[in-house]
């Protein structure tokens, strides 16, 4: 090799391959040229984008980024938590030139996203779920998540005012800490209105299993339960089934009021638009992206659906007052004296857990007043 050629063979191959790929891409795909010089951001969803639930909440966040100059958004839905998601991330990087990827499902993190982080050190990955740990995970990975327990507490406040039978229902996917916290928060919100209220929970065992969700909702209404909420990937079936049976519903993940305008009270929604804008602003400004970010209602990570027509005046008042108190800061949902539904103490008189408390991350109980079992 002469002195003029400082490239080694491998680099030369890489460069020429990249050149060829670029040439091919821009020759056969004219849109490619438009964003070749700017940033592409990838979003990956485990279910359909229009599920009125978990995935729609993320897709709405992604949609809020459309129209930002120099930014292109690429999305893929129904991507299972298998090698498929690894290949999807790779494809977004190789074929779309993505420099920031949001794999939004919890199960994408380990091993799938971590494998891609190692393979593409120049690409940034931010995962929804709060699992990133700076001692264990690479710096091009990161986590974002929200504390939505207070949202379910507010659902409970409205439900408590609305219920005539004083019996609430909760359709839940799995007895894991996040879900248990939501169930407990919903009941505690309702008990702030009337301490005799109970909440029956039914676990379906799966994140998305429409038949069981419908059966569970029907079973709840059959018992005389008149307000139902849920924590499954898509609340659509629960909302429509409950409203069809004449029960009121509180939403979760996204706004489900179009499905049952008369019966929808309010709902605890994710506000991912705020989080995604924050990351993308940093990306465009060329600043390093945060590796870990979490927030709740007060931080704007979580929002409430507008109150529905069935919400009474006293309910509205208490809802507004509680919301104001939460926004101010220092509000605790899980605070003593509090027992679990087996009689054990979970918080003594003086104890109050902030929503960020690490103890809540391993919650394994249902509080007194919840009818149901974690196992």
């Amino acid at each position: 090799m002469t002195a003029r050629f400082t490239l080694n063979r491998r680099e030369l191959l890489k460069t020429s391959a990249a050149g060829a790929a670029l040439g091919l891409a821009s020759a056969s795909f004219p849109i490619g040229r438009a964003f070749a010089a700017s940033a592409a951001v990838g979003f990956i969803y485990v279910g359909p984008k229009d599920d009125y639930g978990y995935n729609q909440a993320h897709a709405e966040g992604a949609a809020a980024l459309k129209g930002i100059e120099g930014l292109s958004i690429v999305e893929e839905e129904n991507v299972p938590e298998t090698v498929d998601v690894q290949k999807t991330m790779e494809s977004m990087i190789n074929l779309d030139g993505a420099s920031l990827i949001f794999p939004t499902s919890f199960g994408y993190f380990d091993p799938h996203m971590l494998a891609m982080c190692a393979k593409f050190p120049d690409v940034q990955f931010r995962h929804c779920g709060g699992m990133w740990n700076k001692d264990k995970h690479p710096m091009n990975a990161g986590s974002y998540f929200g504390y939505i327990g207070m949202g379910q507490y507010l659902n409970g406040v409205v439900a408590g005012h609305t219920s005539k039978t004083k019996k609430l229902g909760f359709v839940a996917a799995k007895p894991i800490p996040q879900v248990l916290l939501n169930i407990n928060s919903f009941l505690l919100g309702a008990r702030s209105v009337d301490p005799t209220i109970t909440c029956q929970v039914i676990f379906t065992g799966e994140w998305s299993l429409a038949v069981k969700e419908a059966e569970a909702t029907n079973a709840l209404v059959d018992q005389g339960i008149d307000v139902v909420t849920c924590h499954v990937d898509s609340p659509k079936v629960v909302v429509e089934t409950a409203a069809g049976r004449g029960a009121f519903v509180c939403g979760y993940h996204a706004n489900q009021s179009p499905l049952a305008p008369e019966k929808y009270l309010t709902g605890a929604e994710w506000n991912w638009a705020k989080v995604y804008k924050m990351f993308v602003d940093d990306l465009i400004a060329g600043k390093p992206l945060p590796n870990f970010t979490r927030g709740g209602l007060a931080d704007g990570f979580v929002k409430m659906s507008p109150l529905g027509p069935a919400v009474s005046e006293p309910a509205r008042k208490q809802f507004d007052a509680t919301l104001a108190e939460m926004t101010k800061g220092g509000f605790s949902v899980i605070k003593g004296p509090l027992k679990n539904n087996k009689g054990g103490v979970v918080a003594t008189e003086s104890q109050a857990f902030a929503e960020t408390a690490i103890e809540l991350e391993s919650m394994d109980y249902l509080v007194e007043g919840v009818v149901g079992s974690t196992a």
Binding site: S28, P48, K87, S91, G205
Partner: protein, 374 residues
């Protein structure tokens, strides 16, 4: 055999009065390729109409599919990765099908094979890696084999419909998996996604040299070839095909139909269980709900498209892997929903099933018809 066959009513397009034996052989063989390929083309043409109906360009669609699934080395590896689990999942359908059994519950064997493999890996933690991987494979195959073998036994000894029982047992298998990974086998550190203890890196199966596709692909191809040899070249395969054609005749001949049914369903389940083990050892690193990813159901499609021929499963799995791989690019580039490729898969499935009725009907492929008068 004679070289030429005298014939009075030969069709004009073949000109001569007699036909070389080689030509007859080619004609007969060609049928098995031409009909499925024609069906593929018809299915794609129908899908083009569908794409036109939703206001998009079929040309752009097929171009995107080509790019996403087959058009570059990256895309080919993407397709092969997705094809790998389908090979073994399809064998779980194809092997019993040769006995006339329609088994559609391979998903159950996959998840239980994965759980058994993960449990074996946990139990043997610390042992040399080749022993652990071997035992994991055996455990996965045993779990899957027992599960689908039981379906075969229920069919033969209790006359329980194998289609229904295998499907219902798949639901039970998934429930059992959830019970195990959320209960006794749960890694306490897996809070929000219950999983078994992650396998140590030395017990993981890596990629094949020169490509980013794990060894499961090679295992699947070998399993397909061995299955073909079993069915086509051994007396067990011959006996199974006879029993599949006519159970009574097979019994009159003194064939042990019960052993054949249980053996073939057991082997089919073992392959599916092995797919579950590979999913744990090569992809997930632990057993959890992600094991129920639907490979067992896509395997049904693959086996039917391959007409239950184990060798044909290999290209069909690659084709479906490619369609799956390109589905992502279609979503991103053409703003079409994920269900688009499902519509294509469905159309191909219907057309290929329909094309079954054409075998033996075309003169060109059937030398027996050449000799008959028009």
């Amino acid at each position: 055999m004679t070289d030429t066959v005298a014939s009075a009513g030969a069709p004009a397009m073949f000109g001569a009065k007699g036909y070389p034996a080689a030509l007859e052989r080619i004609a007969r063989r060609a049928e098995a390729f031409v009909i499925p390929l024609a069906a593929l083309v018809v299915g794609m043409a129908m899908f083009s109409l569908f794409i036109l109906a939703v206001g998009k360009s079929p040309v752009q669609l097929y171009e995107t599919m080509w790019r996403g699934g087959f058009g570059s080395w990256f895309s080919v590896q993407n397709s092969l990765s997705r094809a790998a689990p389908l090979l073994l999942a399809a064998l779980c359908v194809a092997l019993p099908a040769r006995l006339g059994l329609v088994v559609i519950g391979g998903e159950g064997a996959i998840v239980l094979g994965g759980v058994a493999a993960a449990a074996a890996g946990m139990a043997l933690d610390g042992a040399p890696s080749f022993i652990v991987i071997l035992v994991m494979g055996v455990a996965g195959m045993a779990a899957g084999g027992i599960w689908i073998g039981a379906v075969g036994a229920l069919r033969h000894y209790r006359a329980v419909n194998e289609t229904i029982s295998s499907l219902l047992m798949a639901y039970i298998a998934i429930a059992l998996m959830n019970q195990l990974v959320e209960g006794p086998l749960r890694d306490p550190a897996s809070l929000n996604k219950p999983s078994t203890q992650p396998l140590a890196d030395i017990y993981r199966i890596g990629n094949m040299p020169g490509m980013e596709v794990h060894w499961g692909l090679a295992v699947g191809v070998v399993a397909c070839v061995l299955s073909w040899v079993l069915i086509e070249k051994t007396r067990w395969g011959f006996a199974a095909r006879i029993a599949g054609g006519n159970v009574r005749a097979a019994q009159v001949q003194g064939l042990a139909v019960g052993s054949l049914v249980v053996g073939f369903t057991g082997l089919a389940g073992a392959f599916a269980g092995l797919a579950g083990m590979l999913e744990v050892a090569a992809v997930q690193g632990s057993a959890n709900a992600s094991l129920a990813a639907g490979y067992g159901y896509t395997g049904i499609l693959v086996a039917f498209l391959a007409r239950h021929n184990p060798l044909a499963i290999i290209p069909v799995a690659f084709l479906l892997g490619g369609i799956d791989a390109s589905g992502g690019l279609i979503q991103r580039r053409m703003d079409l929903p994920d269900a688009t490729v499902l519509v294509l898969q469905g159309m191909l499935f219907i057309v290929i099933l329909f094309s079954e009725t054409f075998y033996g009907r075309f003169r060109a492929f059937n030398p027996d018809l050449w000799r008959r008068s028009n």
